[in-house]
């Protein structure tokens, strides 16, 4: 996993999977950089071939952690079709912008 801070944009990429194995690690790593108060958080899911409910839980936790910061945009980039379906099934698109670039 790679976390890059580009000004106001926090960019997270290179996530092969988001599961019970690594979701806590993911959540803690991202939370650790939130004090930098980014205005956009982009999570690149193009490399992510598998996500389970723990992985989704980490994304919901991220939403909750940023909910009190006004105007933070949460963006999920290029999820694979199966992952996209999962996001829609759990109504993630109401919390995150899902963008195909």
């Amino acid at each position: 996993m790679k976390i890059e801070n580009q000004g106001k944009c926090l960019s997270i990429s290179d996530i092969p999977e988001l599961t019970a194995v690594n979701s806590a690690h993911f959540r803690d790593e991202v939370r650790a950089v939130l004090p930098n108060s980014p205005s956009v958080i982009e999570i690149d899911l193009s490399q992510t071939r598998f996500v389970d409910s723990s992985g989704l839980g980490a994304l919901f936790a991220l939403y909750r952690a940023t909910a009190q910061c006004q105007g933070v945009v949460l963006r999920l980039l290029n999820p694979r079709p199966e992952v996209q379906q999962l996001l829609e099934l759990t109504q993630m698109q109401q919390l995150f912008e899902i963008v195909q670039r």
């Binding site: 599961t19 598998f50 839980g57 939403y63 759990t90």
Partner: protein, 630 residues
């Protein structure tokens, strides 16, 4: 091996016990994904299955407690072409799978696993056991169609031994698949019958509806335990139909006889048809069955009554007396009791409906089987006509006939009677028809054909104590010679050369399936002009009239003598015979199947024109067997 071809998918299963840690769950989920991929499940479907195994596996390890935390959960995948079933066996205390699962609000980090499983699978069940529980997840899928290879048209002319062996084995495998289908249908039928039998029992509520309802009730009342008992078929006992705790699955309670004191609170409630509250801390009755819950249990027992008739009882309560059920909760129990009683009556109506459907479907299947038994077409001949008649006493019988053109001038005819009825008889009949075709390609000798059939069928028939009687006839249309052999079958009737009368051709032999190596001896005769030949099963001669008198072979011979020279076509003679049989039987019930095959010959007019035109004669034009309904 030849080049790989598309094979129809075969059932397969994988079992993966795994260590109780998240990484092992991942490994198990990936193993199952890989396995399903190898079975030909498309890539885009694999994600869902991997997800379900991951979710179920994570729950299995998250909720294990105490020593159970060291036990390995087991992930399983069962693949069949039309369904994928995933199973996760855990060692947790278990949970109650809600009927509906709602998506948790975004603020909640956890609790989406079951929602996802329920969303992507067609059926989810959770079976709780004493030491382990299994989550069963099923997804139906469309079977992968095997591409049917177009058969090449057969080459005319003599067949080599190799070729006929190949044909025999092809025919065997075709019959085997047909037999498989018949078996499958019979299994399906018996499954439906079993289901109906279940519905017929008064504890039908236990299996499905009652349990579901009980779970809802359990949640609504926040009770610690509940037990549903239903009245047994004989109306004498209360049998546990569903219970929240395994210790409550106790033996049946006898309803008290008149003047007898009831044993236990539930029996008392059933006898009085009045609900009762109870508190075990007050009672001293050691034999009270509800003590299984605990010494201080409290709660409510309601009778299930509909239209004044007792259906069962329902008991709901807490383990201790500190938090007894409130008024509202008791009201809920009463409402449920009423509903359960009504539902039981509804289910009885439903059961009648299901029976009607099953009966209709049984008729359909029987008709399909019948079509498999008789040849679709009979050989079309230049100067001769062939027609078959068939009537079944029941929906599926074991009588059948078949006719094969060996070459342009000879035929092999067969009439057989498989002892017994129903699907097993039909299976043997279908198998034997296939074998006849294979054997007739190798030899024209009816005796050798019968020996061959006996050799091939002996083991299977003797294993189920069945046998087959059969008559096989080779007809040389050029020389008019007939060669017949019989395996315990009634004699054929014919008009011999130079005679203006009908005779029986005496043939003797042991039925097929009685001895392992039976040798049959052929009998020969020459057909007169016009040729008339009748092969039949004993269902014809055993036809009884309302007075109980048999139709008999003498009557049949006499009838044929009167009609053989009347210039009937084969189809005409067949129809006449069927009419005669039905006329004789009158209002009497048909007790046996009937099958027969007639061969006739066109008479020549002095100018050489045929008396009937093959192109217009229905028996020749479309010699498919006609089913004659009595």
């Amino acid at each position: 091996m030849a080049a790989a071809q598309a094979q129809p998918a075969q059932p397969a299963a994988l079992r993966v016990p795994f260590s109780p840690d998240p990484q092992s769950v991942r490994t198990a989920a990936e193993a199952i994904r890989k396995f399903l991929g190898e079975q030909g499940v498309p890539e885009k479907e694999l994600f869902s299955f991997e997800l379900c195994v991951a979710e179920a596996g994570n729950n299995a390890i998250a909720y294990a407690e105490g020593p159970a935390r060291a036990l390995k959960p087991v992930a399983e995948a069962l693949f069949t072409p039309d369904q994928i079933e995933l199973r996760m066996t855990d060692h947790t205390a278990g949970f109650v799978l809600p009927e509906r699962i709602v998506l948790p609000p975004p603020q909640k980090e956890r609790g989406r696993g079951l929602y996802l499983i329920k969303s992507v699978m067609d059926e989810v069940r959770y079976v709780r056991g004493a030491a382990e529980n299994t989550l069963i997840m099923r997804k139906r899928r469309r079977a992968i169609q095997a591409t049917a290879k177009e058969r090449e048209p057969g080459m005319p002319g003599a067949l080599s031994l190799e070729e006929s062996q190949r044909q025999l084995s092809e025919s065997k495998s075709a019959r085997a698949s047909m037999a498989g289908e018949l078996l499958f249908r019979s299994d399906t039928l018996s499954a439906i019958f079993r289901c109906c039998a279940e519905l017929g029992r008064s504890d039908v509520l236990a299996d499905d509806f009652g349990k579901r309802l009980l779970v809802d009730l359990f949640h609504l009342t926040t009770a610690d335990w509940c037990v549903l008992r239903l009245l047994s078929v004989d109306g004498k006992q209360l049998v546990v139909a569903a219970a929240s705790e395994s210790e409550l699955v106790a033996e049946a309670l006898n309803l008290p006889l008149p003047g007898e004191a009831p044993r236990g609170i539930e029996a008392a409630v059933a006898a009085s048809q009045t609900a009762a509250r109870f508190d075990l801390r007050e009672g001293r009755d050691r034999s009270e069955p509800l003590r299984a819950v605990g010494p201080g249990a409290t709660g409510l027992v309601c009778p299930l009554v509909f239209g004044g008739v007792l259906v069962g009882t329902i008991a709901v309560g807490r383990r201790g007396g500190d938090f007894p059920l409130g008024k509202l909760q008791e009201e809920v129990v009463r409402i449920f009791a009423e509903f359960l009683a009504i539902q039981n009556v509804n289910l009885r109506h439903h059961r009648d409906e299901v029976r009607r459907h099953v009966f209709a479907r049984e008729l359909e299947i029987a008709q399909e089987i019948q079509h498999l038994l008789l040849p679709r077409t009979l050989p079309q001949l230049e100067r001769f006509g062939l027609a078959g008649g068939w009537q079944s006493a029941r929906e599926v019988g074991g009588d059948f006939y078949d006719a094969l053109a060996v070459d342009v001038q000879s035929l092999v005819l067969m009439v057989a009677d498989v002892m017994g009825k129903g699907v097993p008889a039909a299976l043997f009949a279908a198998t034997m028809r296939g074998m006849l075709r294979g054997l007739a390609a190798r030899t024209n000798d009816p005796a050798k054909i019968l020996s061959g059939l006996n050799r091939l069928l002996y083991a299977e028939l003797s294993a189920v104590n069945m046998f087959i009687t059969a008559q096989v006839v080779h007809v040389d249309l050029q020389t008019r010679q007939i060669t017949a052999a019989s395996a315990g079958h009634c004699p054929l009737l014919y008009v011999p050369a130079g005679l203006h009368a009908v005779q029986a051709l005496p043939t003797k032999g042991i039925p097929i399936g009685v001895l392992p190596d039976t040798v049959y001896s052929p009998a020969t005769a020459v057909l007169g002009e016009p040729a008339t030949l009748l092969l039949y099963t004993d269902g014809l001669t055993d036809t009884r009239n309302p007075a109980g008198r048999l139709f008999g072979q003498r009557h049949l011979t006499k009838w044929l003598g009167e009609n053989a020279f009347a210039g009937h076509t084969a189809g005409g003679l067949r129809d006449q015979l069927a009419r005669e049989l039905n006329r004789f039987r009158g209002a009497a019930e048909m007790t046996d199947d009937q099958a027969f095959l007639v061969l006739t010959e066109a008479r020549m007019n002095p100018d050489g024109a045929r008396e009937f035109d093959a192109q217009r004669d229905p028996a020749l034009l479309d010699s498919a067997s006609v089913r004659i309904i009595g």
